[in-house]
């Protein structure tokens, strides 16, 4: 889910809303509808007369309408499948003289997420990374237990990040998300002694 997708999502919903508003307006005020339909009929009548050689059975209006519809369908199908991207498995990439040195998210998991996951005051911790504005951001989502001291968890994470910074040689954008426990977590089979 990147920023462009989000804007497009809202834009599409807005367009649909405006189209429906148009339909509503036409239904309630047929006078506008008649005017619009008359104009549309006039255009269609003119285009009906034009035929493209080789496609005699279809009027130009039909072809244009079809073409628009097909383009719309292609754009919309792309839109549907364009979602779901954004998660990447490589958290760092450094091109070097002899080749690229890259780091997989599993390393970040070990350094950033595992120390938190193993804490008794944490129910679950998981890591994901995504690109925002050209930079790769690492996000660790932690579900603290009820009664956990948030400051301690934050501090522990800051230590883990310091270790990551030492390994990375620079400061990558990192986000810590303290999230509420989900229903799913009570089904986790880990036995905890706290």
């Amino acid at each position: 889910m990147n920023a462009t997708n989000r804007v497009l999502n809202r834009a599409l919903i807005l367009i649909a809303g405006l189209l429906l508003a148009g339909v509503a307006a036409l239904a309630i005020r047929p006078a506008w509808a008649d005017q619009g339909l008359d104009a549309a009929r006039e255009v269609r009548r003119r285009m009906d007369g034009i035929r493209i050689s080789g496609l005699e059975s279809l009027s130009l209006s039909a072809i244009v309408a079809c073409a628009i519809a097909v383009l719309a369908v292609i754009a919309l199908v792309w839109f549907v499948f364009a979602h779901g991207g954004g998660r990447i498995s490589t958290v760092r990439r450094s091109p070097r003289r002899l080749g690229e040195v890259s780091v997989d998210r599993s390393v970040a998991e070990e350094v950033l997420a595992r120390p938190l996951r193993e804490r008794p005051d944490v129910i679950a911790a998981h890591l994901s990374s995504f690109r925002v504005k050209g930079s790769r951001t690492i996000r660790v989502t932690v579900r603290p237990r009820r009664g956990a001291d948030l400051a301690t968890i934050i501090h522990a994470f800051e230590n883990a990040v310091a270790e990551w910074d030492a390994l990375a040689g620079e400061q990558d954008p990192v986000v810590l998300h303290l999230a509420e426990a989900r229903l799913r977590d009570s089904w986790s089979s880990e036995a905890r002694v706290s």
Binding site: M1, A3, R6, L8, N9, R10, A11, L12, I13, L14, A16, G17, L18, L19, L20, A21, V23, A24, A25, A27, I28, P30, L58, S61, A62, I63, A65, C66, I68, A69, V70, A72, V73, L76, V77, F79, V80, H83, V132, K133, S135, T137, R139, R146, L150, A151, I154, E158, V161, A162, D165, Q171, P173, V174, V175, L176, H177, L178, A179, E180
Partner: protein, 178 residues
Amino acid sequence: MNEQVYRRVLRRETHRPRTVAAIIVAVALIALAAAGAWLAVDRAARRGAVAGIDALSDPRIATAVGIVAGVLALVLILYALLPGRIRRRALSRDRLALLIDDRVVANGVADAVARACDVPRTRVSALVERRRVTVRVTPTSGVPTDEAMVRTAAEAALANARIPLAVAVRVNEKGAIA
């Protein structure tokens, strides 16, 4: 830390993406476009469609359709334009960005108040809003509630995690016997 990146990230994490609705709309529009293409090509289908539209000339049906479409249009437009904030807050620390679900803050504050004021946790509740958390305590009958203590406990919990929120305390008029 790159300020711009953090601002983008935190904005992303605190607002809903509207994906589901967008996909539904996209599928509906695909169906519509496909129908449109079919109508453009198939003369017989077009005749059928025109006959259907004639039914709309009945003012009652037209008005009904108009109202339904209008309401749905309004819902969609609002959905697209409203920010859709998630109940989470974004804070920044020196090195990293912090996101905390409001529920986590509420639980933390309520737990701290229950502990400090020796009130059963079930009688303490906390409601977190944009800039303020309201702590509500149901007192034990016959035991006066120290509002100052409640406030101090709540503020301490917030200060400990460095969460900037104002505290409001409400003590329920009706207490619990036991």
